[in-house]
Symmetry: C2
Subunit: 154 residues, 2 copies
């Protein structure tokens, strides 16, 4: 079991074990669904204002952009552990397609691409040069779209 | 305007400006509420399994604990920008008390204490010694409780 899978199973085990937490495995699965949705909320909160700056809809603010890019790079590393086995549409309200678990290696590689692109964007943001930021942002956006197309219900 | 306040206002502005986003300032306020709730979901997801390890309910796993402590330390820095002015119970479904904005300096100092305690916990986690981790975890938990008591409806 790799580290992410171990942490996901620990989180589920702790969620079942702890008194202040969901009492059943089903509740734990719902918690995992809510957790990953929360991660994507954090992703969007940081991603969207960067998009507005890249498109010129809001003025480019280097420090703010950097912080959002750093936050995105961090959040990109969190989501995967929320996709524990069995946390599909039968377990709770989610747009996650079954293919996430049927083609799990491909899903994980897409998540890794998102993580890599976000890290590159945070790196580009340090330079403060929109000519470098724009393509890095575009690449990151592509990783979102590609994964959503394959693994998220419309 | 400090950096956090600037980013919060940028996020609200971008949320209003962007086509794929909330169309009104009211919607943007609701987005801010959902954002901070998402951050606290990430906080809880990482905090609770650490608590189970500290209490001995689940076996201590150094690498997993470290990752969760790092995630918590990061998430602790995110929440504040979700508490933009006007994002109170009139703006959406939230347990945030009005005192957050009436006594905003105190609220911010409590959030800073949470951030500081979480960073110290992540530091303690590196040592892998439960004798150091346990009090650092307890201090972090105290910052949660103290802020919830003052600023969150039951």
């Amino acid at each position: 079991m790799n580290r992410i899978a171990r942490i996901a199973s620990l989180a589920l085990a702790a969620a079942v074990a702890s008194l202040s937490l969901p009492a059943s495995a089903d509740d734990a699965k719902q918690e995992a669904i809510k957790y990953r949705q929360a991660v994507f909320k954090v992703v969007g909160w940081n991603f969207k204002p960067m998009g507005a700056m890249v498109k010129g809809e809001t003025p480019y603010d280097k420090a703010a952009f950097q912080r959002m890019a750093d936050n995105l790079a961090f959040a990109s590393k969190l989501a995967l552990e929320g996709f524990a086995p069995g946390t599909d549409a039968l377990a709770g309200e989610t747009r996650a397609k079954d293919d996430i678990w049927k083609k799990n290696d491909d899903f994980k590689s897409k998540m890794a691409e998102f993580e890599k692109a976000s890290a590159a964007l945070a790196q580009a943001a340090q330079g403060g040069d929109m000519a470098a930021i724009k393509p890095a942002f575009g690449k990151t956006a592509d990783t979102c779209k590609s994964c959503h197309k394959a693994y998220r219900e419309d």
